[in-house]
């Protein structure tokens, strides 16, 4: 049986197809650069919004970003 008769569905390729669309395409509100702080991506919308986003993130995380990274409990 030739390999041409067998069609594979590959999980890894599917994931790449999804990531390519979802991470880079669609409606883009922010600029092209994302700065990651303490491994949390912050979408760069503009400096003022960025600063308030950091505050929002800090509230949600329940901890400020400016100290050393704590291990999650």
């Amino acid at each position: 049986m030739s390999s041409r008769d067998v069609v594979f569905e590959s999980k890894e390729v599917t994931l790449l197809e999804i990531l390519d669309r979802v991470l880079d395409k669609g409606v883009v509100i922010s600029g092209d650069l994302v700065i990651s702080v303490a491994e949390v991506d912050l979408v760069y919308i503009g400096l003022k919004a960025l600063i308030s986003s950091v505050e929002t993130m800090e509230r949600l995380r329940g901890a400020p970003f400016y100290g050393p990274m704590q291990e999650p409990n």
Binding site: R4, V7, F8, S10, V13, D20, D32, V34, S36
Partner: protein, 111 residues
């Protein structure tokens, strides 16, 4: 209706698609260890882009004969020096050619 992703050759596509993922960091991890390397990658990638564009321009003009002898010499010498400098800089920052692969999408035609 869920989507299908089907191919006879998933391994080949995995390999090629991994290469297309931009090595130009869209996300710059701002921590002390790799901020230097991340920025070096960014800067050197952009310089490589410009250098390759200049090379291609020069080739086009050589092809249609629109450069004088003297201009060919000057352009050639400059391109040589640029290339050598880039080799040096890549070595200093421990970056390979693949690290500086800029996936330009529709702009890719420029290169």
């Amino acid at each position: 209706m869920s989507q299908e992703v089907k191919t006879d050759s998933p391994g080949d596509f995995l390999e090629e698609l991994e290469k297309t993922r931009d090595s130009l960091p869209k996300r710059i991890a701002a921590n002390p260890q790799n901020v230097e390397k991340g920025l070096a990658k960014l800067v050197l990638t952009l310089i490589e882009l410009i250098r390759k564009l200049m090379e291609k321009q020069a080739m086009r003009r050589i092809e249609n004969g629109s450069l004088s002898e003297a201009e060919v010499e000057r352009v050639g010498e400059t391109l040589m020096k640029l290339e050598n400098k880039m080799v040096e800089l890549k070595q200093i920052f421990g970056l390979e050619d693949e690290d500086l692969n800029l996936n330009l999408g529709p702009l890719g035609k420029l290169l």
